[in-house]
Each structure stands twice: as C-alpha cells, then as structure tokens.
C-alpha cells in the first residue's frame, strides 16, 4: 500500500513471458546520514524496501596510472580530487586496514567535521551514489540529523542547512528529521509511535521520547562507536580503523574471548551506562514530558548496537537505574543498521 499521492511507474518484466506488469512505486526516499555509514531507503516494487549503504569514509592513496587502473578493474570506487587519488567508502576502510592507516572521515561526532571541510565533494559523491537520481524533480528525501548534545556544546543549524542545500542541488527536496525520531517511525508503529527510540551511531547516541508521533523530547550524548574505537585503539596501541575492524568482525560483549574483545566490552558497557545515566537525568529534569498512562517500549537501533549481546547488556544496565518512566519492553530493531533510513523513508512517504 502506498500513501504518498505521488508515485513512479516501474515496469517489471516477468521471466519467460512477454507480459509486462506495471507497478506503482511511491516516491520519497529516506537517508540516514551517519558518522560511520550512509544509508538510503526506498520502497521497491515487491512491497518491501531496498536500502543502499556505504561507509562514510575515504582514503587518499598514491596517484599513478597503475593504481588507478587497478582500482578501475577491481571496481573500487575512487575520485580524483586536487590531484589526489581518493578511494571512497567501504573499500577505503579495507585498504586502511591493509596498510595500517586511518581513514579520513567527513563527519565527526554526528556532525560535519570541521577538520574535513575539503571532504564535501567526496561526501556528496557517496550520498549521490546511495540515493541515486531523483525519480522526479523535487522528490522528497527525509534525512536524519542528530539532536543537540547534553554533554558537549554543539548545534545542528549548519549541519542541517548544509545537507538540505546539498540535496536540493541534487534535484531532491530535503527535509530533516531527528535520527531517534526516525527509529520511532520505524520500530514503534505497533505502539502508535509512542515510546522511546534510541539510535546508537558512530558519533553519537540519540534519544527521542515520542507520543503518538510527536517528539516530546530529543537529545543526544556525544559518545558512539567511534568513541569505543578510539579508546580501544589507545589501550591496545592500534589504529582506530583496526579497532573498528575487530569490533565489527563479531564480538559478544557478554563473553569476550581475548584482550581485544575485553577492551571492547569494557568500553561498550561504559557507553551504555553513560548513555542511560544521561537519559535518566534528562528525563527527570525534562519539561513538557507526557504522562504515560501505560508502560512504554524502548527500541534500540543503529550500527553500534549491532555488536553481539548489546541488548542483553543494555537491559542489565537499565535494571540498575531507577528510570522515571515505566518501561514494559526493551527490544532491538530487527534491522538495526537500516532502522534510521527506514524511519526516514516512512516520514518521506507520509508526505508531511
């Protein structure tokens, strides 16, 4: 079922048949602009969604004909920028680990990195690739933005305006939505979009208290996967990219197997505990909080929550604090990496 009045006709050719089925696919896309990953979600012609993802990173390598030729043959995405050969996305991350280097990141702590002001062309290229061309001029795109942080001094004015301008120039109509609010749209439909959405990203952990789609309270803490990686890298004496690789290859923080996994576990527990304490104190001090007559549900999503045992540890840490709002259930999003993009798609499709 497609709600948006605008739709795009997609012709589907059935195999073994000359018959062509014309399927209406609703316009609108969701874009998760994350510190670690960029993901774009779009409704497909099989009544599901398709999410295209790429890592938000790049790496400069030596510019020579041989390198460029190899990258082209291996279909490794690259761009020539200021005379440098720049590898983009996941390939940059893999290469960095091979050469024991650090990738460069256009975003830091959830926002555009002030140290990478020249990274805009690379970022725009990656976003353009994950989004694709607009199916119609001015097609709506809801993109995620973080909330302002409790523990650092930041604001999202420039960040939001920048991406709106970027998307408008690409031929889209960009509209921002809070990242954790997107999780509510994606995961709490069965609760009439009432409850708490948590997004654990690379740069930040975002929280949103929602009552029937209305975001009553949104905020973030400036700790995320990158914070874990940099601390683990410090204690282990390795590069952050290496720490990321170790973390993502499969760790269960309930049962670390070696010194590296123990370090990851320690910082994960600290991250979860820190986030919960800040959430609790913010809720206790919060004005305009709705009175929940029924216990609510908490949905956890985001790439940083993908580590093994995350939700179990989260529940353990949650049980230690006296949370001011009654909670019935804490659950992990089924597709935690895609949840924000999916929620943004919901917002774009509803057409508000």
């Amino acid at each position: 079922m497609h709600t948006n009045n605008k739709s795009h006709t997609h012709t589907h050719v059935s195999s073994g048949s000359m018959a062509q089925d014309t399927v209406e696919v609703a316009l609108g896309k969701g874009l998760d602009i994350g510190t670690a990953n960029l993901a774009a979600a779009v409704q497909n012609d099989e009544e599901g969604i398709t999410v295209t993802m790429e890592r938000n990173a790049f790496l400069e390598i030596g510019n020579d004909v041989y390198s460029k030729s190899m990258l082209t043959k291996l279909t490794v995405p690259y761009v020539m920028h200021n005379g440098e050969l720049v590898v983009l996305g996941e390939s940059a991350f893999e290469l960095a680990n091979v050469f024991d280097r650090e990738t460069r990141r256009p975003m830091k702590d959830g926002l555009i990195s002030p140290a990478e002001v020249h990274a805009m062309p690379m970022l725009k290229l990656i976003i353009s690739k994950v989004l694709g061309e607009p199916r119609e001029q001015g097609e709506a795109v809801c993109f995620s933005v973080p909330a302002e942080s409790l523990d650092v001094d930041n604001n999202i004015v420039y960040h939001q305006g920048l991406f709106e301008g970027m998307l408008n120039q690409m031929g889209y109509t960009g509209k921002a939505i809070n990242e954790a609010h997107a999780v509510v749209f994606s995961e709490l439909a069965h609760q009439d979009f009432t409850g708490i959405g948590l997004s654990f990203g690379g740069g930040m952990a975002n929280a949103c208290v929602s009552y029937k789609t209305i975001p009553c309270l949104s905020f973030s803490v400036a700790r995320g996967g990158d914070w874990i990686d940099s601390n683990v890298a410090n204690v282990l004496g390795v590069k952050s990219s290496r720490a990321t690789y170790i973390k993502e290859r499969g760790v269960d923080i309930r049962d670390p197997k070696n010194r590296e996994e123990e370090a990851i576990t320690i910082y994960y527990r600290n991250l979860i505990s820190y986030t919960l304490e800040n959430i609790k104190s913010r809720f206790e001090a919060g004005q305009n909080m709705p009175m929940f007559h029924e216990p609510i549900e908490i949905a956890c999503a985001g790439g940083t929550s993908m580590v093994g045992g995350f939700i179990e540890v989260f529940r353990e840490e949650f049980a230690k604090i006296d949370f001011p709002i009654p909670v019935r259930r804490i659950f992990h999003a089924e597709d935690a990496m895609q949840s924000v993009a999916k929620g943004c798609l919901v917002a774009a499709a509803i057409g508000d």
């Binding site: 079922m1 497609h2 709600t3 979600a41 409704q43 497909n44 099989e46 009544e47 599901g48 969604i49 398709t50 999410v51 295209t52 993802m53 790429e54 990258l71 082209t72 279909t75 490794v76 995405p77 690259y78 761009v79 020539m80 920028h81 983009l88 996305g89 996941e90 805009m120 062309p121 725009k124 290229l125 690739k129 994950v130 305006g161 920048l162 709106e164 301008g165 970027m166 408008n168 120039q169 749209f185 994606s186 439909a189 069965h190 009439d192 979009f193 029937k212 789609t213 089924e334 597709d335 895609q338 999916k342 798609l345 919901v346 499709a349 509803i350």
Partner: protein, 245 residues
C-alpha cells in the same frame, strides 16, 4: 415599633455599610491613631435623636410620628442599598487597581531586563546571531505594546500620569538603541526584512562542484543493497493517527 427594634435595625445598617480592615493595613496607610466607637452606640444615638426630634415637634401627633418613622426607615433602606452598591463597586475597582499595580511592576521589571540586555550587547556584541535580529524586532514590538498599554491606562486614570513619563522615556531610549542595532543587522523597523535570517540557502556552497566535474568511476560501481520489510503497516498506522481514514 419600639426603640430597641429601631436601634437594632440601624445597627445592622451601620454594620452592612462598614468595611473590615486590619490594624496593619491602617498602619500601612499612615494611620497611627484611630478613634473607636461601637456601632451599637451610634445606632442608639441615631434612634434617640430621631425620636426626640419627632417628639419635640408638637404639631405632630403620635400617628404622624409613626408615619414619619416609617418613611424615614424606607428612605434609610434605599440609601443603605445605594451605599452597599457603591461599596461593592469600590471594592471591584480596588481589586483591579491592585492588579494593574502588579502588572506595572512586572513591566518595570521587564524594562530593567531589556536595559541590561542592551547594555550587555553593547559591551560585547559578539558574532552576529541570525536570530538576534528577530529577537530585537520582537523586543521593540513588545515595548511598543507596553507603552500603548501605559498610555491607555493613564487616560483611564488608573495610573498616576507622572508614573508613565519616566517609563515612556526609558522605552523610547531602548527602542532607539535597538533600532540602531537593527540597522547594523540590515533590518528596519516597520519594513520587511532586508535579509532573511531564516531559510538561508546553502545551495551555493556546492555550485562550484558543477564545474569541477570530478573524475570518478563511482557510476560503474555497485553498492551493497539490502532488502527489508515494507513500510505499509507503518504508513497505515500513521494515517489512522492523523485521522485520514
């Protein structure tokens, strides 16, 4: 009809006409000493006076005296009702006056805050805040409203005219300074904004990219795609909440 009954009625009339006030309130009004007399004593005096006056009027017989007393009582009743209405109206006005005094105190406090803000802004203007111009616009509007409210109340003689003069002068001064400040921001009072501080377009940040035409093979690269459950259920719920069905 007897003197005791008449005295009692006059006493009740006096009580109804009187207001209760505390010693502290009297002291606040500057009354340090007051003469006190019982209402019953006054009532007795009035009754006796009426009876003596009537009795000494030899031309009146007893029936005439009674008629005179009845007429006096009726007249006293109507005068009393009028006095009670007057007292109620006075009370309402006193309450409203107190409210206006409170509002005036609030306005004066707000003016002090605005003056402080202006002084702070002068000392350390800092970087231009895109929302500061809007805020100043709002402040000047607010002061204009305060001024108009003061003028209206002065006309209604609810506030001493002299009280508003200083406030008007302070408001004028602040408004003038804010106008100068707004000029610096490129805004004029009463004229639509020369510069839109909201809806700043960032499109031009990427304008040069069109000419740059970076060499890249990204169009030939397939990115990782995942499929997921559809959003039809989410949209259905949203529509229900928004009452579209």
């Amino acid at each position: 009809m007897d003197r005791i009954t008449d005295t009692k009625e006059v006493s009740e009339a006096l009580t109804a006409r009187s207001t209760v006030t505390s010693v502290d309130e009297l002291a606040r009004r500057g009354r340090k000493h007051v003469k006190v007399i019982r209402a019953s004593d006054i009532a007795t005096m009035i009754t006796e006076t009426v009876y003596e006056v009537v009795h000494e009027a030899a031309v009146l017989n007893e029936q005439d005296v009674e008629q005179l007393v009845l007429r006096s009582r009726a007249e006293l009743g109507s005068v009393l009702a009028a006095r009670q209405a007057e007292a109620a109206s006075r009370h309402d006005l006193e309450v409203e006056l107190e409210q206006l005094r409170t509002a005036l105190a609030d306005r004066q406090s707000r003016i002090s805050e605005l003056e402080e803000s202006l002084a702070d802004a002068r000392r350390d203007p800092g970087p231009v805040d895109p929302h500061a111009a809007e805020m100043m616009h709002h402040m000047v509007r607010e002061m204009a409203e305060i001024k108009a409210s003061m003028a209206q109340r002065t006309v209604q003689q609810q506030i001493e005219p002299g009280t508003t003069e200083n406030i008007d002068a302070a408001l004028d001064k602040i408004a003038s300074n804010l106008d100068q400040r707004l000029d610096q921001f490129g805004l004029k009072m009463g004229i639509s904004n020369a510069v839109e501080t909201q809806d700043v377009k960032f499109d031009t940040l990427f304008a040069d990219d069109e000419q740059a035409m970076l060499e890249s093979n990204i169009d030939d690269v397939e990115l990782k795609k995942n499929t997921g459950a559809g959003i039809a259920g989410n949209l259905e719920r949203l529509k229900k909440l928004k009452g579209d069905e």
